[in-house]
Amino acid sequence: MDKVTYDIKGLSFGYSETCVLNDLDLTFEPGTLTAIVGPNGSGKSTLLDLMSGHHAPTAGTVHICGKSVSSYNPVELARLTALVPQEFDFNFPFTVREAVLMGRHPHIPRFSHPSAHDMALVDMAMKMTDIALLGDRILAELSGGEKQRTIFARALAQDTPALLLDEPTSSMDICHALKSMTELKRLTREKQRTVVTILHDLNLAAGFCDRIVMLKHGRIHAWGNATETITAEAISNVFGVHANVINTATGLHISYGIKERP
């Protein structure tokens, strides 16, 4: 299977009493790069958790290629979708290369050694994220952005038709954030990948993503392309900040400021 479509219908989720997501209907198609934006606590990460099968929905369904996420066994699922989590632990002194190679885990049979193809994908992913020179370093000793690039490289090495990312660029410098977004865009264009990423930077979302899902209090506030969704009014409604959105030949440019107290 080299193309993956996500179908989300009537999706709700809550922890004991609080409702985090409320009746979402969404579709993520191959060849599209979708950004999920919204304020803290609007349910973005929970949506990704439900899509990756980490949590089970309280109501509604998440289907991958027409089958419920929970009906896949872990290895099957790991061959379809890769995850870049927001938080990551490194508890033992693994090197950067070893950590990236872990992305090949679902593809390498037990007791087998990584093939030349596996190593080639690892090298490519490390080159893409500019960590080729850090290969022998201990992961725990790297900077935050370098760790994040390693996790990104691990997901690229997993080489799955779908990619879910939770704020993948939050600790990266501008250059690497742009490079990562460019790579995601290339994957959707050239390989028809389905990419869904949570972003806080609306300029990155507007500049790179085909579709934008704006969440507020666990509901979809807007869903469409950048010019439809990212408007001064929507930003004011959802984030509660004053925004200036300028539509230029190079795309949307957004600047914001705290609203003056009346």
């Binding site: 958790d49 990756s52 099968g53 980490h54 066994n73 872990p74 290895v75 099957e76 699922l77 790991a78 061959r79 979708t81 890769a82 995850l83 989590p85 938080e87 990551f88 632990d89 490194f90 508890n91 033992f92 002194p93 693994f94 090197t95 290369r97 070893e98 950590a99 190679l101 872990m102 992305g103 885990h105 679902p106 037990r110 190593m119 090298d123 290969g135 022998d136 201990i138 725990a140 000793e141 996790i151 997993q158």
Partner: protein, 346 residues
């Protein structure tokens, strides 16, 4: 291009071969040490004959000392050391905590409680293996109590496991004190057993621990790569296709079984499961596929040396649990301060 992992792998392979050779050599040398010294050459000859089942022409006394007294004890010490270190490595990997070992989860305390209960009540319903059975039941009951306490959903979080383990251990150690208090004239038996000893181990003990240790080790090795991935945290591990809940349960049970067998045969021997995995992580790296065998061999060597020290070198037999804690404790402090002051290597 792939030079680094290969160098690390080659070094790890070399280290493991080296450890195995050292262990083999030490078994021969330590078997010839003791109250009646026997030359290593003769020891080797007797072992070889014993293995072939051939009639031996050499000294009958030496033969029976080696085959019936020293070898069972030495092989028991070796496999207990092996088992404790393997279990320690698995617990550290599962609980994502470098301080974890069979004690952290209360498994050792549970086994000790079960065995002490058997000693107190003079239980012999299964004959000699009663102690093992009671220790194992104690360990499993403790493990299930700990798992039930810590797992609200199918996910067993490391922090919850450790917290529940510490609480259950505290309760059990109070229970153990109560048993000692109630034991009156039996108290010395229980106390001495708890301190750990390999005195007068039989072939039965040696066989039991070897079989449990090796089969447990095989199961752990089967899941070694999953254990590596699980060090990334359960969300990442799941997204890489590891069934974290299932692997954690299987490995917890296996490591607990190994620990329970070790405790039932030799009493509580601390620090082996804690220090050895740390030490070996410096040498062969964190990859469990290499770390598990290296730790097992390292643990076997350490416990063999400690047991030989108390058996053949010191003027009086010191309980081995006391000895390992006396040597291991300061050694752990040293490793710990070195790790903290040097590079942060987990």
């Amino acid at each position: 291009m792939t030079a680094v992992p290969r160098i690390r792998t080659a070094r790890a392979g070399l280290m493991i071969t080296l450890l195995a050779l050292v262990l083999g050599g030490l078994v021969v040398i330590t078997t010839s040490m003791g109250f009646i010294p026997i030359s290593p050459g003769e020891t080797l000859g007797v072992m070889w004959d014993g293995l072939r089942g051939a009639a031996n022409l050499s000294d009958q006394l030496h033969q029976s000392i080696i085959l019936e007294v020293r070898l069972p004890r030495i092989l028991t010490a070796v496999s207990v050391g092996f088992g404790l270190a393997v279990a320690g490595t698995v617990f550290q990997g599962l609980l994502l905590n470098p301080l974890a070992d069979p004690f952290t989860l209360g498994v050792s305390s549970g086994a000790a409680f079960g065995a002490a209960l058997a000693l107190l009540l003079g239980l012999t319903f299964l004959g000699p293996p009663t102690l093992c059975a009671m220790a194992f039941m104690g360990a499993v009951a403790t493990l299930f109590a700990v798992i039930t306490m810590s797992g609200r959903d199918s996910e067993l979080s490391p922090t919850n496991l450790i917290l529940s383990g510490v609480i259950v251990s505290a309760i059990l150690s109070a229970g153990l004190s109560l048993i000692k208090y109630l034991a009156d004239d039996r108290v010395s038996v229980i106390v001495f057993w708890l301190m750990g000893s390999f005195v007068s181990r039989t072939w039965y003990d040696a066989l039991l621990t070897t079989v449990t240790g090796l089969s447990g080790f095989a199961i752990c090795l089967y899941f070694a790569r999953d254990l590596n991935i699980m060090s990334l945290g359960s969300r990442s591990a799941k997204s890489l296709g590891v069934d974290t809940g299932r692997v954690r349960l299987i490995l917890l049970l296996t490591a607990s079984l190994i620990s329970a067998m070790c405790v039932s045969v030799s009493g509580i021997i601390g620090f082996v499961g804690l220090i050895i995995p740390h030490l070996m992580r410096f040498v062969v790296g964190p990859d469990n596929r290499w770390l598990l065998p290296a730790s097992g061999l390292g643990g076997a060597i350490l416990l063999l040396l400690a047991d030989t020290l108390t058996r053949a070198v010191l003027p009086h037999e010191v309980p081995i649990g006391v000895l390992t804690a006396l040597i291991g404790g300061p050694m752990f402090c040293w490793i710990f301060s070195r790790t903290r002051s040097g590079r942060h290597r987990g």
